[in-house]
Subunit: 204 residues, 2 copies
């Protein structure tokens, strides 16, 4: 029993199941981006994927698990970590990459789905946590390098600086709903840099 891996199990890379996944997960993302999570239907995903509803329920515990799996596969390719030689350049590149990832209609819809539904779907809360944890962990060298170069105060808290960088972008995305563009990114970078230099982002 329990022959197939549901949700958390690693995906098979060969055989019939892999083709099934290769059809269902993109179909799920497309449905998410078009109808939104509210309008998403397992039936609809199945039809778009050219697969039967039952097959989906046999491979994923339920709809939230399916959506979490699809989103995880989408966020697998994360934003690149820059190394331009200066903090200003690195922070600007980071912010611009973040903005770019939420500037396409699909990318924007998917991140908003994660943030919105994480409040009630534990599976998406896990996706969200993994997403931010991973990004902050990977981006940390940008700050430590800057400190080593003497561009930033030694007591600067990397995580705090990165949060200050990301916060305005997500704030516009989630709270005010304003358009997010490169100007937003560049301003966020300048604000974060000014804050760090003013020594208001010290490690605890």
């Amino acid at each position: 029993m329990e022959s197939a891996a549901t949700s958390t199990g690693r995906a098979p890379t060969v055989g019939r199941g892999s083709r099934m996944r290769a059809a269902v997960l993109p179909a799920t993302l497309t449905e998410l981006a078009t109808t939104g999570y509210a309008g998403l239907t397992v039936e609809g995903v199945a039809q778009r994927a050219g697969v039967h509803k039952t097959t989906i329920y046999r491979n994923w515990k339920d709809a939230p698990t399916l959506v979490a799996d699809a989103l995880t596969s989408h966020f697998a390719t994360d934003i690149p970590i820059p190394d331009t030689g200066t903090v200003a350049g690195d922070l600007r590149a980071l912010a611009r990459a973040l903005v770019a990832s939420v500037s396409t209609p699909v990318g924007r819809a998917l991140i908003i789905t994660v943030l919105a539904e994480a409040a009630r779907l534990p599976q998406l809360a896990d996706v969200k946590r993994a997403l931010f944890d991973d990004r902050f962990r990977r981006a940390e060298p940008v700050v430590t390098r800057a400190v080593e170069r003497g561009e930033l105060p030694a007591e600067t808290d990397p995580a705090e600086l990165l949060k200050t960088l990301a916060a305005p972008i997500y704030f516009r995305l989630v709270c005010t709903g304003e358009p997010v563009d490169e100007g937003t990114a560049d301003r966020a970078a300048q604000v974060a840099l000014a804050a760090a230099r003013a020594r208001v982002l010290p490690a605890a």
Copy 2:
């Protein structure tokens, strides 16, 4: 024909309907704060309010409209606008008041509900927009006074500064899920102030 006001109509302040509203709206907020929007049931709200399900459907178009109405009534008492004499003091007071409003379990649950469900419920999107528009509009004098006193550069954009102030708080609330306390508020105030003084928050 259309005798009663549904949803957007102003609430009657006397008669049977007012007692009904006075029972249903708080019951809705309680249900929201305990079971969350996902687990919220019109049936459940009706029972908690000691009212019949049909009555709710006769007074509100549907569940989202009911929730929007309840949330609007909750956010009616907004955060106070300080006037301490200095920008530093005003910004700190603003940030602390904002933090306080999301520090109670109920307040936190309700604002998260608004932000999360606004992505798919137009009624809550309206609540969200009204909430932020109103707050930024009311808080603007804090910045204009600071500019008049010469504490901030004349080209400082009030809205931009206030967004910079609020962003880190909402970012923690929505994205990282970290606890939000007075330290968060004070740091947000310092960051916003440093940014304004570094002249990176100019009006367009």
